[in-house]
């Protein structure tokens, strides 16, 4: 137990690191789902952006240009999802699954095509941790919250910004309306398809930040399938957080914490396989206990047809 408290600082720091990509992806999913499009492809969006970020940074030598290429790739894949689901009325879950598969196969393929072999990319200049003076010296919480990569700080800013955009702007009103009752939005003279393109597109941009953080903030190289299910956990965080940015961020922190704990649980005490299960079991319990009754945007998953 004493050991645990000694570890609390590092665990909290690890919690924030684990949660950051989840928060980005969950915020992205929020835009998409609030507009009425299920985005099970968050995983793939993160993966392709993580890869594109490393390619961009590798070619340019600049982490910021890498971030730019990551966002471009995330946006591009998200727009494929939007094109398929909004314009061509494909099933949203299937399209999302295909996006995941495309990102997995595509990054593997491109690894060979660009870097000559699969596995792990060459290392690039990523985003180093930047300690914020004064704040980072707060005991316990300081290093956890304020000695992180700038992408983490970006995440702190984005949570309230997304909240404001979704709940306090005309765009947010239309977005929420589109997810609840597209026909109402349509008759009010707002273009439903365009709102959904915006929603899905933004999900690509935000998931790209998450992906870039994985390959350029957390690490400084791309590894095949490095997202390892984080997109799905982000989706769970979104549902658990009831499609609210604050709630989703909170849920992501919880999952991040569960993950962080697994790094310090002694495997002699509990078999490693059971430690690995913790975040997933926690998600199921959370969904069954609390999040299960959360009400999704009413029109989610359905293509909008003007008859």
């Amino acid at each position: 137990m004493e050991d645990f408290f000694g570890l609390l600082g590092p665990i909290l720091q690890s919690t924030v690191r684990n949660a950051t990509p989840l928060v980005f992806a969950a915020l992205g999913g929020l835009f998409s789902e609030r507009s009425g499009v299920v985005n099970i492809g968050l995983e793939g969006l993160m993966l392709i952006s993580a890869f594109a970020g490393v390619v961009g940074a590798n070619l340019s030598g600049s982490a910021f240009i890498g971030l730019g290429t990551a966002v471009a790739a995330g946006l591009l894949f998200a727009l494929i999802h939007a094109l398929m689901t909004v314009t061509f009325e494909a099933d949203q879950i299937i399209s999302g699954t295909a996006i995941n598969l495309l990102a997995l196969g595509g990054t593997g393929f491109l690894m060979v095509a660009i870097f000559g072999s699969g596995g792990t990319s060459p290392r690039i200049e990523g985003f180093e941790s930047v300690a914020i003076p004064v704040l980072s010296s707060i005991p316990l919480l300081g290093p956890a919250l304020f000695d992180q990569s700038i992408l983490v700080y970006l995440m702190y800013v984005l949570v309230p910004v997304v909240f404001f955009v979704v709940f306090h702007t005309p765009f947010g009103l239309r977005l929420r309306g589109t997810g609840e009752a597209p026909e109402a939005v349509d008759t009010a003279g707002v273009n439903v398809a365009r709102m959904r393109y915006y929603g899905v597109g933004l999900s690509g941009v935000l998931a790209a930040f998450g992906g870039a953080y994985l390959s350029m903030g957390l690490l400084s190289a791309f590894t095949e399938n490095m997202t390892a299910g984080r997109g799905f956990i982000a989706l769970a965080a979104l549902i658990f957080g009831r499609w609210n940015p604050i709630g989703a961020a909170g849920a992501a922190l919880l999952f991040g914490f569960a993950q962080a704990v697994t790094y310090s649980v002694n495997e002699q005490a509990i078999p490693i396989e059971f430690i690995e299960m913790i975040p997933y079991v926690l998600t199921i319990i959370a969904l069954a206990g609390l999040g299960g009754r959360a009400i999704a945007p009413a029109a989610i998953g359905k293509p909008y047809r003007k008859e």
Binding site: F164, H168, T169, P170, G172, L173, R174, R176, G177, E180, A181, E183, A184, V185, D186, T187, A188, G189, V190, N191, A298, K306, E307
Partner: protein, 521 residues
């Protein structure tokens, strides 16, 4: 909002009409929904658009609102030819529409719904105070009382309709189209609505009122355009016509507006009864509060009331598809409260649900599968867990022919049938098992006149055979002409019982809950 020019009726003569549609044709595949339709709407005028379900009224209005593009024909606004590309375009040209199915977003507030798409801003953010203020101003000006801050989900249908109208007014409409606005209203609410409409036209607005109810147009509209089979049959002056003529024009032949009902000597014993029945709605609210009723063999008990006063939940509780909160249900004298829908059906209960689209039929099932939807697990359709599609097909073919379902093809997908034929398919299933008790909820909603006649005939036939029938309907005319007794439901309670000779006023008062006050007084 406030900058609309007040009505100046003087200049309306001579000036081009506010709206003219000429030769509008719209086809869907091989079906022609509108065939060269023309109509004219003058400034400050209420034009009634009358036609049966499926005659093409809604299609025409969707063209006007930019939801459909016409294949042929022209639209003129103030004498100028226009092409309306989408609803946004329509809105910017001053056309507003109150749809039959409300286009409101339930989780949002009234003010948010009203300003959606044309939001007042303060910097980057949405100016909600301004939205509330504008809503209040409009609602005061036209006497459309609403609370701008309440959530639409919590409002009654009547209030929701007001929100819809306010939404149009907020966008400075010059032409307001109302699609079947009275379907969900009590007679009193309908009168209130018409009063508001008259105030609006006095203010310079022009209104198109779509309905399939003959009577109400006479009181409110200036002219009436009748559409049948996608074509304009005639346009008449409301002052120079009567219900009979309108009905003839609408249906294309003389229709019997009154159903001939044989007298049944004496009603039999009580076959369906509810005792102090309490039921919750899907949202958890008490929807039925202590209802007692008895239906006897050989009688039709009518249940009148405005939609959403607990009739649906009552019907479902009686049929066994919704759990009962308190009280008891009796079938032929035996307590059936704890029986499931299946068991009740085995004891001779048939149920025609109000929503055949999502409850009565599985749209993507073939007709033979739908015909066996309740009996698939009984011989001869099933044995030892297996089902026998061949038998199902044979039986379905018989039933479909007997109930005049077209096409009578057991393989046809239910969803491909017209509303009337879908309803007949439901009846075919429900009545062919020779049930003793029938619950029919809105059996003629959205059904063409031919099918209505057929369905009414079937119900009367069952009555003559001594069946006990509970008829739930929003159509007062239907309740009155078929029922032997009429119960009126309001806010989950039975507020009165009247005979079929009751007047609109009597029924209307009860439906508005006024009877309750009288009782308690």
């Amino acid at each position: 909002m406030s900058d609309r020019v007040a009505g100046d009726g003087a200049s309306s003569k001579g000036a081009p009409p506010v709206l003219e549609m000429r030769g509008v044709t719209k086809r869907f595949g091989a079906v022609t929904a509108n065939d060269g339709v023309s109509l004219t709407l003058g400034r400050g005028e209420i034009l009634g658009l009358l036609g049966e379900n499926g005659a093409g009224k809604s299609t025409l209005m969707k063209i006007l609102y930019g939801l459909y593009t016409p294949d042929e024909g022209e639209v003129f606004l103030d004498g100028e030819r226009v092409e309306i590309r989408d609803p946004k375009d329509a809105v910017s040209r001053g056309i507003g529409m109150v749809h039959q199915h409300f286009t409101l977003i339930p989780p949002l507030t009234v003010a948010e719904n009203i300003v959606l798409g044309a939001e007042p801003r303060k910097g980057l953010s949405l100016n909600l105070e301004e939205a509330v203020r504008a809503t209040e101003e409009l609602s005061e000006r036209y006497g459309l009382k609403v609370d701008p801050r309440s959530r639409v989900a919590d409002l009654s249908v009547g209030v929701r309709q007001r929100v819809e109208i306010l939404k149009a007014l907020y966008r400075n409409v010059r032409i307001l189209v109302l699609d079947e606005p009275t379907a969900v209203l009590t007679p009193q609410e309908t009168e209130d609505l018409f009063a508001v409409l008259k105030e609006l036209v006095a203010d310079g607005l022009s209104i198109i009122l779509i309905t399939h109810k003959l009577g109400e147009l006479l009181g409110v509209s200036d002219e009436i355009t009748i559409i049948r089979d996608g074509r304009v049959v005639d346009t008449v002056d409301a002052a120079d016509t009567d219900e009979g003529e309108l009905a003839r024009l609408m249906v294309g032949r003389e229709v019997l507006l009154r159903v001939e009902k044989e007298e049944v000597e004496t009603p039999g014993g009580v076959r369906l009864a509810a005792e102090n029945l309490t039921v919750r709605s899907s949202t958890g609210a008490l929807a039925v509060k202590g209802v007692d009723l008895e239906v006897r063999g050989g009688e039709i008990l009518g249940m009148a009331g405005v939609d959403g006063n607990g009739q649906t939940e009552l019907a479902e509780a009686l049929a066994g598809t919704r759990p009962v909160e308190g009280g008891r249900v009796f079938l032929d004298g035996a307590d059936a409260t704890n029986l499931g829908a299946d068991a009740r059906q085995e004891r001779g209960l048939a149920y025609v649900p109000e929503d055949r689209g999502t409850k009565g039929l599985v749209q993507d099932f073939a007709l033979y599968e739908n015909n066996a939807l309740k009996t698939y697990d009984e011989p001869p359709f099933s044995k030892w867990g297996w089902i026998f599609p061949k038998v199902m097909r044979r039986r379905a073919a018989e039933a479909l022919r007997a109930y005049d379902v077209r096409p009578a093809d057991p393989e046809a997908r239910a969803g491909s049938l017209s509303g009337g034929n879908q309803q007949k398919a439901v009846l075919a299933r429900e009545l062919s098992g020779d049930p003793g008790v029938i619950i029919a909820a809105q059996p003629t909603r959205g059904v063409d006149v031919g099918a209505i006649e057929f369905i009414h005939g079937q119900l009367l036939k069952q009555r003559a055979e001594g069946k006990a029938i509970l008829l739930i309907s929003l159509e007062l005319e239907e309740v009155r002409s078929l029922s032997d007794r009429i119960l009126v439901m309001y806010a989950g309670r039975i507020v009165g019982e009247v005979g079929p000779e009751a007047t609109d006023e009597q029924l209307g008062l009860l439906m508005a809950g006024r009877g309750v006050e009288e009782k308690s007084a």
